[in-house]
């Protein structure tokens, strides 16, 4: 997952580096040129044209040359236009000071193009638009006006900003799933919600295997009394994994099935109840109301929202709606095989404030991975293999 984004992030880093290096060079050139132009007013024209393009070196030139000759007028006017363009940029004084001590300052317009590229890269990775904007905002805040010593690499600065910005949106309310299961009173009831076809039932089968591996006994309850073939599907999984399944006839009351599941677990000393629900679109008011009812009747210990890593911008809409109808504790992202862009993970965590807990990464029962935001961000920003 996230392979495309990883490449784009590293190209973002190098283009900011490039900009900064160019700027450092120009600043150095400018210093020489300005010093010369003080003696040689005829050389002023091309230089001031350059200062108009590069604001910080313009400002630096203005301060170093002082009010001695004509070149000042040109440089100063170039600076004026720059200053009106960005009011909250670093002051001429700060820039001069930075320049004098051999540092340069990263300014908004240095980042404009790379940030635009980055935004497109995030969107291409299915990060939802408002979330992408949030990430950019964080990077902007962290980088603009930052001084860097010329001995530091700009790369480090960018990397830190990217790291923080990404972690900010992905790492929300993370908790240790295993610990919470271990600490909870048994039976622990977990309900799975989500739209049609995202892989709820398969995730339940996988999670039951995950829990069994950790020594818990598990019962499945099929609250999907609606979809054709739903009972047969989960029945087959239960047989394959040798799990007990509680189910009713198609068309029955889902809350009742899940309730029976809990009762069964209580009287048979089962540790965990995994309750499936019918996939539903978040626009279906009746079905969303049903979900609320399930929440009330069963009062689950945990509600997990399942969505697919291939989902696009809409992922946040539905995550929000499901969270409203039956508050979720975390999410499972399915179909997160190597090539999916995975922006949905970032977006869902950010808008719900609930962590992504697991990734479904294949068709086998073992293909369920714990989701670790730190690890992901490190991997995203790590060296490209």
């Amino acid at each position: 997952m996230f392979d495309g984004l990883k490449d784009k992030l590293s190209s973002f880093r190098s283009s900011v580096e490039e900009t900064a290096d160019k700027k450092a060079e120009e600043a150095a050139d400018q210093e020489n040129a300005a010093a010369e132009s003080a003696q040689d007013p005829a050389r002023d024209e091309p230089d001031s044209a350059e200062t108009a393009v590069d604001p910080s070196s313009g400002a630096a030139a203005a301060t170093t040359t002082e009010d001695t000759d004509e070149s000042v007028a040109a440089s100063a006017s170039a600076e004026d236009t720059v200053e009106t363009d960005e009011d909250d940029g670093p002051s001429a004084f700060k820039r001069a000071a930075a320049f004098a001590t051999g540092k340069i300052i990263i300014e908004e317009e240095d980042l404009e193009d790379p940030l635009w590229e980055l935004e497109m890269a995030l969107l291409e990775s299915d990060v939802e638009m408002s979330v992408a904007e949030e990430i950019l905002e964080t990077i902007r805040e962290k980088m603009i006006g930052e001084t860097r010593k010329q001995v530091d690499t700009t790369g480090e600065l960018v990397e830190r900003a990217l790291h923080d910005a990404l972690l900010d949106v992905i790492q929300v309310g993370q908790f240790d799933f295993d610990e919470r299961i271990a600490a909870a009173d048994k039976p622990v009831t977990i309900i799975f919600t989500g739209v049609n076809g995202v892989g709820k039932t398969t995730s339940i089968a996988k999670l039951s295997e995950y829990l069994a591996d950790r020594g818990y006994s598990v019962v499945l309850a099929n609250g999907d009394t609606y979809r054709a073939g739903a009972n047969e599907q989960i029945q087959k999984h239960a047989e394959n994994l040798d799990r007990k399944l509680i189910s009713h006839e198609q068309g029955g009351d889902p809350a009742a099935v899940l309730y029976d599941g809990v009762k069964y677990a209580e009287s048979n000393d089962i540790d965990v109840v995994l309750g499936d629900t019918a996939g539903r679109l978040h626009t279906s008011d009746d079905l969303m109301a049903q979900l609320e009812k399930i929440g009330r009747v069963v009062d689950p210990d945990m509600t997990l929202f399942v969505d697919e890593a291939v989902a696009g911008q809409d992922a946040v809409q539905r995550a929000k709606k499901f969270n409203e109808a039956a508050e979720i504790d975390g999410a499972i992202l399915t179909k997160a095989d190597a090539d999916s862009s995975g922006g949905a993970a970032i977006s869902i965590a950010y808008v719900t404030g609930k962590p992504i807990l697991f990734l479904g990464v294949g068709q086998g029962y073992d293909d369920l991975e714990r989701f670790d935001p730190e690890l992901l961000v490190d991997r995203l920003l790590g060296e490209t293999e």
Partner: protein, 463 residues
């Protein structure tokens, strides 16, 4: 619907251009930025969005508007043409014997789509059969079988089989009597080589006339790669977008269409087998730009009326055309309305009501009207048959009784009666039409006859 937001945000931006005779680059940039935003939020591929917006910008700036055209109309025209160009025509599906294969990711809705398409073909007078070759997903066989029972179409599958290619071959033989064979396949990721090998073998076995890619409306930027890979292995002739009844915009479908150089065949808009629409590019674009979609509307009206009539043999909508419109007719029409789907969907298809006006209505306007319709229904349930047939005869005492019986108040009952009277008057204007051709009636409406009272059942939400 696909790209709904593009419609409203575009209209907003374009409204800012109103009154300008010339537009400069800055105006265009603003419009283009809006378009980019909307398309990106609709999950259209980033590269495609950039191309499209570049084209729009260039043409809007370079092309001279025709004499008498405002700048706004010029931009609108460019956007319209570029969109039409991108969306293309609806996939050609001749109404004749053929074999269609479905492919797509897990959970995109292939099995449901297979049953829906079969239902659609059966309504067109052909005999379809669905062949289920998914041997991997537990429950796939049962789901397909049950869906096909609901669609009342032939079905072949083998719950114990393990070789999809063999099942496909056997299926074609077993359903040789059918005209249209729809071959459903297991969901697969386009990058899993062994699964792609498998679908290529199925393709060899059934040699489909066309293969359709089934895409979830919510699919993101991954649509491009999926479409390309599937196209390379089996050749994609058309795209079906499913789950359009959610909030996803289905922009992935535009990407897929562009990538495979194909077109959109069907739209899936709900969970029952009837919830399928043939994609209509004109209607789609018109709806997008707020011009309504008459054809879809009249089809829905006809279907709903036919269903309502089938339930109650005594009722004959033709009599309305002859100028007698009773409360019973109104009741039936409201039933038919309910069958047509959510009010806001229907409204969006009505010329002059869709698009721009819909944007201006408060969010709960539709709920309010629907509530009111429901109240009217309850009131009519409390009336006797005679009262329904002869609403003119209802007096004050009866109103009081009806109000009490229906748990409403007298005012609401009177409201219903005056609504009926207004609709009756409006409808008598149409009575000359005779043959009850809904489409003609709609056209007449469009020309300006309708307004508040409007067509029969639509009256209740007029004001």
């Amino acid at each position: 619907m696909v790209l709904d937001d593009l419609g409203s945000s575009l209209r907003g931006t374009l409204d800012d251009l109103r009154g300008k005779s010339r537009i400069d680059e800055e105006d265009i940039d603003e419009v283009v930025k809006q378009i980019q935003r909307s398309l990106l939020q609709a999950d259209v591929d980033v590269g495609l969005v950039m191309n499209l917006s570049e084209n729009i910008k260039q043409r809007a700036l370079e092309e001279e508007p025709a004499a008498g055209t405002t700048a706004r109309d010029q931009v609108l025209k460019v956007v319209y043409e570029e969109m039409v160009d991108l969306v293309g025509d609806s996939t050609e599906l001749p109404l004749e014997p053929q074999t269609i294969m479905l492919a797509g990711l897990q959970g995109s809705g292939k099995t449901t789509t297979a049953a829906k398409m079969a239902w659609w073909f059966s309504k067109k007078g052909l005999r379809p059969a669905v062949i289920q070759t998914d041997t991997f997903r537990p429950g796939a066989y049962d789901q397909a079988k049950q869906m096909c029972e609901r669609a009342e179409v032939d079905f072949y599958g083998d719950p114990d089989g393990s070789d999809p290619v063999q099942i496909a071959r056997d299926g074609l033989e077993a359903t040789a009597d059918a005209d249209v064979h729809i071959v459903d396949t297991a969901g697969r990721h386009a990058l899993e080589d062994d699964l792609i090998d498998e679908i290529e073998q199925i393709e060899d076995a059934v040699s489909p006339d066309i293969s359709l890619l089934v895409l979830d409306a919510a699919i993101g930027q991954g649509a491009k790669q999926q479409a390309r890979e599937f196209d390379e292995s089996i050749g994609i002739g058309g795209v079906v977008i499913t789950k359009l009844d959610g909030t996803a915009k289905g922009g992935g479908a535009l990407t897929a269409v562009n990538e495979t150089d194909s077109s959109i065949a069907f739209l899936g808009t709900g969970e029952t087998v009837q919830d399928i629409e043939r994609f209509e590019p004109n209607g789609f674009i018109s709806r997008l730009l707020g011009m309504g979609d008459l054809k879809q509307l009249s089809e829905r009206v006809e279907r709903a009326m036919a269903e309502t009539q089938a339930e109650d043999e005594d009722w004959d909508p033709e009599s309305i055309m002859e100028g007698s419109f009773t409360l019973k007719d109104m009741q039936k029409q409201m039933e038919a309305m309910n069958k047509m789907g959510p009010l806001d969907q229907v409204m969006d298809m009505i010329p002059g009501l869709g698009g721009g006006i819909m944007d201006q209505l408060p969010d709960n306007a539709m709920d309010v009207t629907q509530d009111r319709m429901r109240r009217f229904e309850v009131i009519m349930d409390s009336m006797t048959d005679d009262e329904l047939e002869e609403p003119q005869s209802i007096g004050a005492a009866q109103i009081e009784r009806i109000a009490r019986g229906s748990g409403t108040d007298e005012e609401t009952v009177r409201e219903l009666l005056s609504q009926h009277k207004m609709m009756d008057r409006t409808l008598s204007q149409f009575s000359g039409m005779g043959d009850g051709d809904m489409q003609r009636m709609m056209k007449k409406l469009q020309k300006g006859g309708g307004g508040g009272g409007g067509l029969g059942g639509m009256g209740p939400f007029g004001d």
